[in-house]
Every structure is written in C-alpha cells, then in structure tokens.
C-alpha cells in the first residue's frame, strides 16, 4: 500500500509540472506582453518614449530574461500561491479566487448530491428491469440528458420562467449566511439543470455495470440462497458495480467544471466560472491564468483521492 501511494504521488509531479508549463506557454502566446498592455492605457508621449518605457517595464517584470528563468520564477511564486494582480480589478488574483471559490463549490456540491440522489438509483432500476418499460424510459431520459446542451437548458429555463411564470431567479448574489433563501433560489435551478446534464452519463454507467454484475455466478448463488431482492441489489451487486462508476468521477469533474462556467454565466452567479468568462472578455490574463491553475489543481487532487480510495477498495489495483 505504502509503495503504491509513493508511486502515485511521484507520478503526479511530472504531470503537474507539465501542466503548469502548458499554462505558462499559453500565456506567452498572448499577443503583446504585459508591458504593452499596461502602456496601452497610459499616455506616454512619442513612440520613442513609449519604447523606452516598455523596456523599463520589461526589465522590472523580468520579461527580458530567458524563458526557463521566467518559468522558474513564475512557478516559485505560484508555489507560494501568488498569482499576480488583476489588471481590471486592481487586486490580487488570489483574493478573487478565495472570494469566488466557495460559491462555485456550493453550486457543484448541490448538483453532485442531486446526482447521487437520483442518477444511481435510476441506473440500478433500469438494470433490474432490463428491456422492460421502465428501462426503455430511463434509457430515453439518459440519452436525452447526454444530448441536451446545458446552454439550452439554462436559456429555456430563463425564457420559460420569465415569460410563463413571470418569475426569474434572484439576479443579485447573496451568501448562504447572508440570506439562505435567496441563495438557494439562485443556486437551486442551475444545480438541478447541471445535475440533469451530468447525471445522464452516471445513469448509463451504473446501468451497464449493474447488468454485468447481475449476470455473475455469485449473484445467482445469493438469489438461490433466497436473499431478499433489496439486500441482494445493494449489498452484493451495487458494491461491485459502483467502483468502476466512481473511477469515472474524474471525467465527470471536467463536465462539472464546464457546467459551472455555463450555469454561472446564464444565472449571473459570481463564481469562478463567471470570473473566467469575464476575465477572458476583458483580456485580464493574470486572472485567467490563476483560474486555470486552480482548476488543474482541483482535477489533480480529486483524481489522486479517487485513485487512492479505489486502491483501498480493490486490492488488485495496488499490485498491477
């Protein structure tokens, strides 16, 4: 076990370094550099004076140094959780992230709870009733969920509720401590839509795994023993079927993060996703960079936790 954990942690280092290199490289692709971006907003006189001023700024920001040196200095500051300042908001990117992260996490958490509450039971039910009416219905629902884009669900919701019910979710964000009611009214609808868009693939995976497990010999034995259907499903079948579904949660995470970007934009929730879209539109690349790094860190952490949990649950993994 200890050996597996060490190996898994060591493998994370090159992955994280390579990913940060990609982010660094992406930011170097931005046309013009920070010096020109800053000078664009200032009146610096003639072209010559502007060039001198730009050179002085480049010197100050270390932009004249070689790329490996720049990367090294940058990665050290990232290690200290210093992501620079937002040009537009004029405050540290770290503060923006700390302020907005909890809102996105709350939205994602509600969606995940909903997924567990209905997607997994629906997958089980569909497998048990394979090729019966319930199975067909659930399969139709899940293939719909896979095909309907969240951008449409959100647009339809805003349209339908404002035109037919003359109601829209609150447009000004309130924290859960400030006003729990407003908070839930604002986050509830996008979380439900998000869970539908993502839950579909969980339903399909649970169904597929359950169908395979239900054909195993030990299930037949348990059934022959006269075990009640409910305990057979939950204690014998689901236990084995759920593991592969859980490993897929890493993939779901990507869909969840994409989903929060879209949902926050439509429902005007000031979370990380909207910050991402706003800073892209404002070409505020220090913020974009910080947000991408945070997203990567979350993915790496979640995948690590899933892998470790999986190796605890299934000892075969450790020895392969």
């Amino acid at each position: 076990m200890g050996k597996y954990v060490t190996r898994r942690l060591l493998l994370m280092i090159p992955t994280a370094l390579l990913a940060t290199m990609v982010v660094f490289g992406l930011m170097k692709l931005v046309p013009g550099d920070a010096a020109i971006a800053i000078l664009a907003d200032l009146d610096v006189g003639t072209q010559e004076e502007a060039d001198v001023a730009a050179d002085r700024l480049r010197e100050r920001f270390g932009l004249n140094e070689s790329l490996p040196v720049q990367y090294w200095k940058w990665i050290v500051s990232v290690g200290k959780l210093e992501f620079g300042d937002s040009i537009i908001q004029g405050r540290p990117v770290r503060d923006i992230i700390l302020e907005r992260l909890p809102r996105t996490l709350e939205l994602a958490a509600i969606a995940v709870v909903l997924i567990f509450a209905y997607a997994i039971p629906m997958g089980i039910w569909s497998a048990v009733r394979q090729d019966k009416l319930a199975d067909h219905l659930i399969r139709v629902i899940s293939i719909l969920g896979l095909s309907v884009p969240l951008v449409w669900l959100g647009t339809l919701f805003m349209f339908g509720s404002s035109r037919l019910l003359h109601w829209v979710p609150p447009l000004i964000y309130k924290g859960p401590i400030d006003s729990l009611g407003t908070n839930l009214l604002m986050l509830g609808p996008p979380a439900v839509l998000l869970s539908f868009a993502i839950g579909a693939s969980i339903i399909r995976m649970t169904r597929g795994q359950m169908i395979e497990v239900l054909r195993e010999d030990y299930i037949r034995t348990a059934r022959a023993k006269g075990l009640a259907q409910s305990s057979l499903l939950v204690r014998h079948a689901l236990r084995n079927a759920i593991l592969p579904v859980m490993t897929q949660f890493g993939g779901i995470l990507g869909a969840l993060m994409t989903g929060t970007v879209v949902a926050e934009t439509i429902f005007n929730i000031p979370g990380l996703g909207r910050a991402m879209v706003e800073s892209i539109n404002n070409r505020d690349f220090a913020v974009v960079q910080g947000l991408v790094l945070i997203n990567i860190a979350m993915v790496l952490m979640v995948n690590l936790v899933i892998d470790l949990l999986y190796s605890v649950a299934d000892p075969r993994i450790r020895y392969s």
């Binding site: 095909s147 884009p149 951008v151 439509i266 991402m276 991408v292 993915v299």
Partner: protein, 301 residues
C-alpha cells in the same frame, strides 16, 4: 432457407459460410429492424448534413443581413422570426448547421487521428517513449472540460479555425489512451506474433495488422466525440470565446436568446437548442447501436 427468422441462427450462418448473400438493400433493412435507435440516429445525422449542404440554397436571406424589425414573430416572410437586431432566424439556423458540422467533425478527426498515431506508437514501442507520452497525456487531461479550449480561443482569438484547433487538442489525450490500451492487448495476440515471426517490421505490424483490428472501438468513439464537440462548440460560442460574431452559430444564437429572455421571440430560444440536441442525439444513437453490434456481451440474450 429463410435467413431472417431467428437472429441467433442467421448470425451463425453468416459467420459459418459466405453462401448466404443478402442484397445491400436487404442488409440495410435488416439493420433497421434490429436497430431502430441506430436508424433514428442515422436519419438525424442525415438531416444535419442536408441542412449544412443546402444552407446557401434554402436560406431566404443572408445570415448576417438585417432584414426586418427586431424580435419579429414567425411569419410567411420570416419562417422562424427575427432576432434582437432583425436577422432572419431560419437562415441563421441553416448556416449554423454548417459551423456545427464543420467544427465538430474536423476537431474530432484531427484530434483523434493525432491520438491514434500517438497511441499506436506509444503502445507498440513502449519503454521511455511510452512513459514520456503518458505523462504528457496526463498533463493534458488535467485541464478539465472546455477550460483548455476556452483559454486557447481567448489567446488565439475567435474564429472557426481556432475553435477547431482548441477542441482538437482536447481529443488527442483520450484517443491516445484508448488506442494504446487496445494496442497493448492486440499486440500479444497470435496474429501479431505470427507477423513478427515472419520478419515483419514494427511499423508494418502496427499499420498492417494491429491497426485494422483496433479500428472498431475507435470509430464508436469518433461518433460520440463528434456529438460532444458540437456541444463544446456551442458552449464556447455561447460564452463568447467561439467562432466569433461574423459566423452564425447555434451557440451564439442561444446566447442572444439568454441575454434577451424578456423580449426575444420564442423561436430564438427553441430552434437552435432543438437543432443542437437533435444533432448530438443523432451521433449518440448511432454510436450506441454500432457499439451494441460490436460488443456481443451487450446483446440481448
């Protein structure tokens, strides 16, 4: 002998000998009967393709022209009404099919071809090369969902080409992973060993023997990914980091509807979303039925 009576029997017969021949139309009819969802998928994809091909013929107006009042309801003059600045929704919908199909298909073809080669070589050669490729793939998969594409388009600028590049890069990683896994399994098979024993070179074993045997699961994935790429393109355009305002896209049409939900005409919210859903569902149903045909374990017993 009637080949179409029992599914099991006819399959055995097919495998057994080439004596029983169905005409092409006959085979197609049998496929439809066994796979109604797959047929629906094929129809939906055909509709998408014909919309895209006929856009310049069928459209009553140019997609970017201001042809009437803003937010007009559907009428004989404007079949689906007009948007917030008076462009014809029906014409924009048809041209949007072009963008969805072009971006979706080319992003997946480029990305997955790249991944196919990387996966084949990495899986077959192994060793240091494999280790390095795997770490790069890990790093690429650390970018969740469309975040990488969003950032790339933000940096490169909005255009259909840049969206294709941005999305294609995202499909390299999963395609490499899957191809590598298949190759690792296939290269130990007897036929690959036999080819090696006969003195075939590594590239020859890969491309002549392993590749044809690894193609089927790969094609299922292509179909699924085209659906995902269509959703991704519409999401990027919706968020303002997509094909750009000069190109009519279903995603940007929806973003106009979402921003003007209080006064936009209802077709602007319905039509583009329905089009995306139908197109994506077409590819999903099609890939589902192909996968079921390939995987005997999922077949009905």
């Amino acid at each position: 002998m009637d080949v179409t009576t029992e599914q099991g029997v006819s399959e055995q017969l097919e495998e057994g000998a080439g004596r029983i021949k169905l005409t092409r139309a006959g085979r197609f009819r049998r496929w439809i009967r066994r796979n109604p969802p797959g047929f629906v998928g094929l129809v939906l994809v055909t509709i998408l393709v014909s919309m895209a091909l006929s856009a310049n013929v069928v459209s009553p107006y140019e997609p970017n022209d201001l042809v009437g009042f803003s937010n007009a309801s559907p009428s004989a003059e404007y079949p689906l009404g007009t948007d917030n600045i008076g462009r014809d929704i029906f014409s924009r919908l048809l041209y949007g099919a072009r963008v969805s199909l072009l971006v979706g298909v080319s992003a997946v073809v480029f990305g997955m071809t790249g991944g196919l080669f990387l996966g084949l070589v990495s899986g077959y050669v192994g060793g240091w090369f494999d280790l390095i490729v795997q770490r790069i793939i890990d790093a690429m998969q650390a970018f969740p969902g469309i975040i990488l594409a969003l950032t790339l388009v933000a940096v490169l600028g909005q255009s259909p080409q840049n969206v294709i590049i941005a999305l294609a890069i995202g499909y390299i990683a999963p395609a490499t992973r899957i191809t590598r896994a298949v190759v690792l399994r296939e290269r130990e098979r007897v036929y690959a060993e036999a080819a090696r024993a006969l003195g075939a070179s590594t590239p020859r074993v890969i491309f002549k023997h392993v590749l044809p045997n690894s193609l089927a699961p790969y094609l299922v994935l292509v179909s699924i990914f085209v659906g995902l790429a269509i959703i991704a393109e519409s999401s990027l355009s919706f968020l303002g980091a997509g094909v750009g305002p000069e190109t009519s896209s279903w995603g940007s049409m929806l973003s106009v509807a979402a921003e003007n939900y209080f006064d936009a005409t209802f077709t602007l919210a319905l039509a583009p979303g329905l089009a995306i859903t139908a197109a994506v569902m077409g590819f999903n149903l099609f890939s589902d039925s192909v996968r079921d045909m390939l995987d005997p374990r999922l077949r009905r017993r």
